[in-house]
């Protein structure tokens, strides 16, 4: 009798394992054959479950790995790149930041509040499991149109989930983006970012080193929730049976997470811990395999010791449960009592459930029988790689076609501005971020609602460093749909530009690549193009990719989302007392437009809203200019020349000016040369532009000239109106700020009324 049979004998009710059952588990026939080869026998039911999750798209990155390897990941300041829980970047003073962005799209569509909440919880664990105290969260969330009641419900649910979890766990949500488009009607996006601060020599890795060391389970008890979340929910498209998948969504418990953060950070203070990892996707299975694989060891687990929430759980369920707020630790042999004591003080379960072995195998026992005995590396590292076919979408040429001559010019610039400000994409996101605690920890210098968030760096003991971290998350999905390569470049450029607008120097980035079904050649092409763009931009801007996440199968009933490579850039500001505001900070400042405005209306909000077209090529990005611009901003802030800086993006110059005015209700008057097409000047979205204010115009212009960045003095701040005019003619726009602000502020709330 082999293991599989003995296991079936022990676990009554386990079904017989065969190729058909493997297929139901999402494994291909080829993968099934590979499993038989690796084991030399039929797997037990629990083993089949393990292969199915470990080789799922979500855990194995089988479709994406080849491409992700091309990304620039190294730099002197990168201490740990992709592959661990999150990336680690040195920021001087013996400190480092650990950050990552991750998707929780499918669960949030099925159950928005818990899906979003557990997305926040998961990313926090990725960060604090490496020894860092989480100090700032961002999120990027995308929905279908708010005219659809279901999406009003989803928006409310997701915001409640993010807020409910982040607020209770005591980590500030300092910024983010909220977008709406019909392409997300069947598949919303919830991407959660977190950044933590750590002493650079106190970084913990997810590795099971030291043969004989005890393996410790800490945190919540294991229940039946979330079984196959990674393989079935995250690694397949949605169809009509989405509702039936609700039980695969986990439930979050931020209170336990908060205790877990404090207890883990406390347990890490001595030298009793050698490795630690979150039990995230695929729970106990994935964490133990990855930890053993990284250390070149094996692990023996005794499932009977695992704290359990439900009675009668089978090995299959215990191994695949995605119950939240659990961590797997490896302690130094003989020191485990010191670890257990800490968790006991916090009233958290902590149990020795196994030990590290030398033989490179995962051996799992349950009720006296061995139910899993498989080699670690072939499962963890030799997951099949899929070289999926790629092909540009057949209608790509059609998408990109835009004859500006056939587009009717804008006859009512003020009406256009008002319509843009009233759109949910460009409107005020205060309704969202007012529900997030953006202040806890007391480090928030620039909170949500501006360009980038700015968070002061304070040591764990409260000691000041004088530094601050800037961070921003960005993507323009419409641009990525029109040209995924250019769109991805623009996402990196814009996120970095927003960081640079505070005066910070961009350091590194993390990305969350949200795409449709990779089995479709068009999706795979979009993915490959986006990754190519991401790599080019990251290299050119000196912001290596230190962590990331891929989310495929974002489609319902065959309709994919727009490719959405969300990019979060983190930058360092050397002196927090010298920084630029996002909006206009005072009256009487000179208004300077940095960068060049070209006649670029392809993929713009103006074109979509005013002419009902989503077409053309997105605005070009000159990465060399972009880098010069970022350098100029940092130098100008350090030199005390720049008072505020705000990137020009969605909605163009007019919208950016309005937003700068709203920050402190300070008006502005700008005069521009008469262009051939007024809508391109006012609403075009040319990249590489920033609206800056200064009290020392000659010096700013001189710095710009020296940096090789075009700079144009266009007006002054002050008054209660926003006036945009042509030289020597009637203004295109001249309106009371209060009127614009009222429209902008109501964009989201008015659409949520009565629902």
């Amino acid at each position: 009798m082999d293991l599989a049979e003995r296991s079936r004998d022990a676990v009554r009710g386990d079904p017989p394992v065969d190729a058909a059952l493997a297929r139901e588990h999402g494994l291909s026939d080829e993968e099934w054959k590979r499993i038989l080869e690796i084991l030399g026998r039929t797997p037990s039911y629990a083993e089949l479950g393990i292969f199915s999750v470990m080789w799922s798209e979500h855990c194995s990155y089988k479709s994406s790995r080849t491409y992700l390897r091309t990304l620039p990941t190294k730099a002197e300041h990168v201490l740990v790149g992709p592959g661990e829980g999150a990336g680690v970047v040195a920021i001087g003073d013996g400190l480092a930041v650990i950050f990552k962005i991750e998707s929780h799209n499918h669960p949030s569509f099925v159950e928005p509040t818990q899906g979003a909440a557990t997305g926040v919880g998961g990313i926090l664990r990725d960060v604090f499991s490496m020894g860092a105290r989480p100090i700032a969260s961002l999120d990027s969330i995308r929905f279908g149109p708010l005219e659809d009641p279901k999406h009003r419900m989803l928006l409310r649910g997701v915001v409640h989930g993010i807020g409910g979890y982040g607020n209770a766990v005591g980590v500030p949500t300092v910024g983010g983006e909220t977008g709406f488009h019909d392409c997300y009607r069947g598949n919303i996006l919830v991407n959660a970012f977190n950044l933590g601060l750590v002493e650079a020599d106190r970084i913990f890795l997810g590795q099971a080193t030291g043969v004989g060391n005890p393996v410790v389970y800490v945190g919540s008890k294991t229940g039946r929730d979330g079984i196959h979340g990674a393989s079935l929910l995250a690694s397949a498209e949605f169809g009509d049976e989405t509702e039936a998948k609700r039980p695969t969504v986990q439930v979050g418990d931020p209170f336990t997470e908060k205790c877990l953060i404090e207890a883990c950070l406390e347990a890490m203070r001595g030298d009793a811990l050698v490795g630690i990892q979150d039990m995230g996707a695929a729970g106990l299975t994935c964490s133990s395999f990855e930890m053993a694989s990284r250390a070149g060891t094996g692990i023996e687990l005794d499932l009977d010791r695992v704290p359990q929430r439900a009675a009668g759980m089978t090995p299959y369920e215990l191994l695949l449960s995605e119950s939240q707020e659990r961590m797997l630790l490896v302690a130094r042999a003989g020191e485990e009592s010191r670890v257990l004591e800490v968790f006991e003080r916090w009233d958290l379960d902590a149990v020795v459930v196994g030990r590290v072995t030398a033989d490179g195998r995962m051996r799992v026992r349950w009720h006296g029988a061995t139910v899993v005995d498989i080699p670690v590396d072939p499962v963890a590292q030799s997951a099949p790689i899929c070289d999926r076919p790629r092909r540009p979408p057949a209608d790509l040429g059609e998408r990109q076609k835009l004859d500006l001559a056939s587009i009717e010019p804008e006859g009512d610039p003020q009406g256009a501005l008002e319509q843009l400000l009233d759109s949910p994409n460009l409107g005020d996101k205060r309704w969202v971020f007012r529900q997030y605690d953006s202040l806890v920890l007391g480090n928030t210098v620039l909170g949500p609602g501006g360009g980038a968030a700015l968070v002061r760096v304070r040591r764990e003991d409260g000691g000041a460093t004088g530094k601050a971290l800037a961070m921003a998350v960005d993507c323009n999905p419409r641009w990525c749909w029109l040209d995924p390569h250019a769109g991805a470049i623009a996402a990196v450029a814009e996120a970095a530009r927003r960081v640079a607008c505070t005066g910070a120097r961009p350091l590194a980035l993390t990305n969350c690549l949200n795409f449709g079904n990779p089995e479709k050649p068009e999706i795979m092409w979009e993915f490959a193009e986006a990754v190519r763009g991401l790599g080019e931009a990251a290299a050119a801007l000196g912001t290596p990719v230190v962590s990331g996440n891929v989310s495929f199968y974002n489609e319902t009933a065959g309709r994919p989302i727009f490719p959405t490579p969300t990019v979060a850039v983190v930058g360092l500001l050397g002196d927090v007392e010298r920084r630029a505001a996002s909006g206009f900070p005072a009256t009487g400042l000179a208004l300077v437009l940095l960068g060049e405005t070209r006649e670029e209306l392809g993929g713009s909000e103006w074109l979509a809203l005013r002419r009902g077209r989503e077409a053309g090529l997105p605005p070009s990005v000159d990465l060399a200019h972009e880098r010069r611009l970022h350098g100029l901003l940092a130098d100008a802030v350090a030199g005390g020349v720049l008072r505020s800086a705000h990137g020009v993006s969605d909605g163009g110059l007019a919208v950016a000016l309005a937003r700068c005015c709203f920050a402190a209700s300070i008006g502005a008057r700008a005069t521009l040369a008469e262009p051939p097409r007024v809508e391109a000047l006012l609403f075009g979205e040319s990249n590489g532009r920033v609206i800056a204010t200064t009290g020392d115009l000659p010096r700013l212009l001189a710095l710009a000239r020296a940096a090789g960045v075009p700079a144009q003095h266009i007006g002054e701040t002050g008054g209660s109106r926003l006036a945009l005019g042509r030289e020597g003619g009637a203004p295109w726009i001249d309106v009371e700020l209060s009127r614009l602000a009222a429209i902008w502020s109501a964009a989201i709330p008015r659409r949520l009324e009565g629902s």
């Binding site: 409910g164 005591g170 418990d253 209170f255 971020f433 529900q435 928030t444 304070r458 409260g462 007392e577």
Partner: protein, 231 residues
């Protein structure tokens, strides 16, 4: 020495400590909720914000049973100053050390924002520095709607126990400036003796210009004055 009580789920405990230290030069010690006594030499107790025990039951309803609360009650009964902010206010109400209760915000959603409050009671140990002042302070809570029966509210008013009221930036009474639907726009109250106060806004998050302002020091500084003056 100031004692900041640390419940499981407290979030602003360290922030309170840092604010006292960096802005006022006062040492504060975190006191774990399982302690049965306050550290020797404690001359003020602060109950911080957060979500004690997850606030899964009523806010503060579990924390009032924490072992340390016996010591906090004895300290208050002996006349020692006890200040609860946000979740700490909720705990003090649940513990019966302050009148009234805090209910779900009228708008049902969590609210994080800067608000203005008018100091209605200027007295040691919490508001002596701020007679009649309008303070700009942040709030961040889902359950901050102050509630007490009408006769109780009238009694509190007569006894001068209403410490802070939400107001317009110029200090005028304005229902639109009431962020959570609190009865009589009450943002903070104290006990009859005046040595226990609770407020929903976070003075510890308005303690330095870099992160939004220093108006919170009017309250924390008053407490420091009272302690230093031997009060």
């Amino acid at each position: 020495m100031f004692a900041v009580i640390q419940f499981p789920g407290s979030n602003d405990d360290r922030d309170m400590r840092f604010a006292l230290k960096s802005a006022l030069g006062v040492e504060a010690q975190l006191v774990w909720h399982k302690e049965r006594a306050l550290p020797p030499g404690t001359n003020a107790v602060l109950l911080p914000g957060g979500f004690s025990y997850g606030d899964y039951l009523r806010c503060g309803a579990m924390a009032r049973f924490s072992p340390v609360m016996g010591a906090v009650r004895r300290f208050a009964e002996a006349g020692g100053p006890v200040l609860g902010t946000c979740n700490g206010f909720q705990v003090l109400c649940e513990a019966g050390l302050l009148p009234g209760a805090l209910l779900r915000n009228a708008g049902l959603d969590f609210v994080c924002d800067w608000v203005h409050v008018r100091v209605e009671r200027a007295a040691a140990p919490f508001t002596s520095r701020a007679p009649g002042q309008i303070l700009r302070l942040p709030i961040k809570h889902g359950d901050g709607r102050y509630f007490a029966a009408p006769e109780e509210l009238a009694r509190l008013e007569r006894a001068g126990q209403i410490a802070l009221r939400y107001c317009a930036p110029d200090g005028s009474p304005d229902d639109a400036a009431n962020p959570n639907g609190s009865a009589d726009r009450i943002a903070g109250v104290c006990n009859a003796r005046g040595n226990v106060m609770g407020l929903m806004p976070h003075p510890e998050h308005a303690a330095e210009p870099l992160t939004g302002g220093t108006d919170g020091l009017a309250i924390l500084g008053s407490l420091v004055d009272a302690v230093r003056g031997g009060g």
